[in-house]
């Protein structure tokens, strides 16, 4: 078994997994390691990180020095294939034309999906994050708690490799011994932010990222991941030895040909393929989940992008892992006599409560960091430190005016120049040039700090997606229409971010590039811009107010599961990917269990 075509798929599978990113990769890994026969269906093309990753390419080798363009919105060397906030031939729409009510939907059309370029930030949700309504009366509680997910966080961290430390901060869980890899040393700017953050009461600690700072322990981890399964242990032990540790060069957004960071294509899929239990079908766009007379799913129908022809694939179980909104689209397009409003939608909630992460950025220039002697600051190809949310108590006491927190990510250092930039600030009403400009460029290079606030959005009734009644994509499949609205909680949170960051820059002796605006609506990024969209098929304890049960199994069709971020009932400030993987593992365990019991 391996890569298949529409004519070489098997007659039937145990499980069809729709999507190949964090959710699909983890689900397929867990299922195949335990012996299930799986067909993974990916809408994009096959992708080989070993041969396609531009590891040491410099900007002068790229068109436009690697600058971002509409066709490569994160720059030329970004790993994304056929993706961005727009995908050719695959439109989506927004119900409102109003500014502030737009949702921008990032997609990637490639094996491994967005995991190939993601930030590798791998933060755990904390106990509060699963029970937010119990804490402050807003949004929804999940039907599961931190304790239900914790063992899966442990396993995912050990499998993919995550660096970080245990610092004991509130709602920022520690990991058990043996889960984490050592963090990289902080850069100069990060040390300065740490020192001056203390004067504002803001902690700065190592962030957690899915990058190997040393090889994985292939001798002890496999038995912890797959107790009692010698074959799975052997396969993953062998695969771990084929992953190199980071060599401290090239940014992770390009992907990693030495497999030092996590992407589905370098971590989940190779061992899953090695089991012999996984078939992968690429360039196949799933249209709908097909349903039989008994009301159970029979498989999916999909478009072969090479020919435009529609095909069917059959399985006992369908796991939707297409990304939160794409999964909504498949479910709403799966209309039948039995399910006229779409599959799994008896609650009417499929597509409801879409959430993104609240985002705002800020920057300053720090004279103390000017003209520093150069040293290599590439590091682990991304962040080394961050600030977890630090005002839980003040917030709960109602002192902040907004209900949920944010964490802070920093940018600093003498990174590789790239893309369009003036390089000098041009003060005094003139455009600097000549040797003076060169000297200024050297002086200012590396003297900047940027802050990005990443905050929790509370689900609301005005942020949802639905099928557009008029628009179809190039395959004839109806597309999504988005509705979006931030609440005052998010807007005020952004105003707080800006004020905090401006104070922080000043505490570092720096100059703010602008003044904070007390009106957060001007600084808040559009919905979807942080690319953390979750919700739409939220899990719950009651079929009337949720789409899936606590196992991510749809209430209406027991052999259809949702493994992606769609099931999130809240969207903590923590980046969602690690939680997606932990839940996908847990869901796959449930699928295996239900199959063993003959329930599906």
């Amino acid at each position: 078994m391996a890569f298949v075509t529409p004519t070489s798929t098997a007659e039937s599978y145990d499980v069809i997994v729709v999507g190949s990113g964090a959710a699909g990769g983890q689900a397929a890994y867990t299922l195949t390691m335990d012996g299930a026969k799986v067909l993974m269906i990916e809408a994009g093309r096959n992708y080989d990180p070993r041969s396609e990753t531009p590891m040491f390419q410099t900007p002068d080798m790229a068109p436009l020095r690697g600058a971002a363009t509409p066709e490569k919105p994160f720059g030329f060397f970004d790993a994304t294939v056929d993706g961005g906030w727009a995908v050719q031939g695959e439109p989506y729409t927004n119900a409102s034309s109003e500014a502030g009510r737009q949702f921008k939907w990032w997609r990637a059309r490639m094996l491994g999906g967005r995991t190939n370029h993601w930030a590798r930030h791998a933060l755990r949700n904390g106990p509060y994050d699963f029970k937010p309504r119990s804490r402050d009366g807003l949004g929804f509680d999940w039907p599961i708690s931190y304790e239900d997910v914790a063992p899966y966080y442990d396993k995912v961290e050990m499998l993919i490799g995550v660096y970080g430390t245990n610092d004991g901060y509130e709602n920022t869980p520690d990991s058990p011994e043996g889960c984490l890899l050592p963090p990289p040393k902080a850069r100069v700017g990060e040390l300065l932010a740490r020192q001056r953050g203390r004067t504002l009461g803001i902690p700065v600690i190592p962030i957690r990222r899915a990058v190997l700072t040393r090889p994985l322990d292939h001798k002890t981890i496999p038995a912890k991941l797959h107790p009692g399964n010698a074959r799975a242990q052997r396969i993953i032990a062998e695969d771990m030895q084929n992953r190199a540790a980071c060599f401290w060069a090239t940014s992770c957004g390009r992907g990693c040909s030495i497999r030092a960071n996590y992407q589905s294509t370098t971590v989940h899929l190779p061992p899953a393929l090695a089991t012999g239990n996984l078939d992968i079908l690429t360039q196949a766009m799933v249209r709908e989940v097909t349903v039989g007379e008994t009301g159970k799913a029979t498989g999916v129908s999909y478009i072969d992008k090479a020919t435009g022809a529609e095909h069917r694939a059959k399985a006992r179980v369908v796991v939707l892992a297409a990304s939160a909104c794409e999964t909504v689209r498949v479910m709403l397009n799966s209309k039948s006599n039995r399910f006229p409003g779409g599959l799994g939608n008896s609650s009417g909630l499929v597509g409801k409560y879409i959430m993104d992460t609240v985002g705002a950025t800020w920057g300053g220039q720090i004279p103390l960091l000017e003209n520093l002697p150069s040293h290599n600051e590439d590091g682990a190809g991304g962040l080394h430190v961050y600030s977890p949310w630090w005002l839980y108590k003040e917030q709960l006491a109602g002192k902040l005016g907004f209900a949920r927190g944010y964490h802070v990510e920093f940018g600093s250092g003498k990174g590789m120049p790239g893309g369009y930039a003036p390089f000098v600030p041009d003060t005094g009403g003139r455009t600097s040039f000549g040797l003076r400009m060169k000297e200024e460029a050297r002086r200012y290079y590396g003297s900047h700090i940027s802050f990005s606030g990443r905050g929790e959005m509370i689900p609301n009734e005005d942020s949802f997606c639905e099928i557009d009644p008029k628009v179809v994509d190039k395959w004839g499949i109806p597309v999504l229409r988005f509705n979006w609205k931030w609440s005052q909680h998010e807007v005020r949170q952004v105003a707080h971010m800006q004020k905090t960051f401006a104070d922080w820059i000043e505490a570092m002796g720096g100059k703010n590039l602008k003044r904070p605006d007390p009106d957060g609506t001007k600084a808040i990024a559009s919905g979807g811009m942080v690319i953390h969209e979750v919700g739409g098929t939220i899990m719950g304890a009651n079929p009337a107010n949720s789409v899936t049960n606590s196992w991510a199994q749809t209430w209406d069709v027991k052999n259809v599961f949702v493994a992606d971020g769609g099931v999130f009932a809240s969207n903590a400030d923590k980046n969602p990917t690690l939680t997606i993987m932990a839940l996908a593992w847990r869901t796959a365990d449930r699928v295996l269990d239900e199959m063993r019991k003959g329930n599906v």
Binding site: R45, S51, E52, T53, P54, M61, A62, G66, T69, P70, K72, P73, G75, F76, D78, G84, A86, Q88, W118, A119, H121, L191, Q195, C246, F247, T250, S251, G253, R254, G359, T361, L368, S374, H375, N376, G382, G411, G413, K414, G415, M416, P417, G418, G419, Y420, A421, P422, R430, T431, F433, G434, M437, A441, Y445, S447, S450, R454, L513, K514, I531
Partner: protein
């Protein structure tokens, strides 16, 4: 400086490697991008990322021979040779600017008009002032004209459009130069090499900045 430019200044002038790619999804995810228009007319959404490109590989170049000559001369007033470090035109920056203004993306389309008209204006102005084109004029003459253009609010209001052109051309020259191997080295970038270990900043530098107590891991 507007916010967009301020962020871009920071991006390439410091935190670039961290934030110009999605690994932090931070500044990067808020970086303004144009609304895409389809069908794509540039390098597409799936270009080969590992093969090296040169100007003209993806779209035909724009400059006339005269514009190219003026562009190279202007590049070299903005970034002249400095000791053993070559000038901007010597490391292909004029070619980069030609590639930039020729690209089929909205930013480039806007720049094409500004830059080509600006180069034509520079030539005409040089002829008017010095009796020769900019490239053929003396160092002192070139410097005098650039000094006039470098004022954001020129005394002669008739130079306002030309001063905006000059700033944009300077930005493109700096971008083109500091993203070459020569320019990166001149700027002080020392990464992009595999290391067995990452030791963080040198201890003496950390001590000089009073940050020794912050080193905890």
């Amino acid at each position: 400086m507007d916010r967009r430019l301020a962020i871009k200044w920071m991006l390439a002038a410091g935190a670039g490697a961290l934030l110009s790619d999605p690994l932090s999804l931070s500044v990067a995810s808020d970086t303004p991008t144009e609304t895409p228009t389809w069908p794509p007319t540039g390098y597409g959404a799936d270009p080969n990322l590992v093969k090296p490109y040169k100007a003209g590989d993806y779209w035909p170049l724009t400059f006339t021979e005269a514009q190219r000559r003026e562009a190279a001369a202007l590049c070299d007033v903005i970034i002249p040779a400095e000791g053993a470090v070559p000038s901007a035109s010597a490391v292909g920056v004029a070619d980069f600017i030609d590639e930039w203004v020729s690209a089929p993306y909205p930013t480039s389309t806007a720049d094409r008009k500004v830059i080509t008209e600006g180069l034509d204006w520079v030539k005409a102005e040089s002829v008017k002032r010095f009796g020769t084109g900019f490239a053929e004029s003396t160092d002192a003459q070139r410097l005098a004209l650039c000094n006039d253009l470098s004022q954001d609010a020129p005394v002669d209001a008739g130079l306002l459009a030309a001063s905006k052109f000059f700033k944009r051309f300077r930005n493109l020259t700096a971008t083109g130069f500091f993203t070459t191997l020569v320019g990166m080295k001149d700027l002080g970038y020392v990464g992009n090499v595999p290391l067995a270990r990452f030791d963080g900043p040198p201890a003496d530098l950390v001590a000089k900045l009073g940050l020794t107590d912050e080193v905890k891991w």
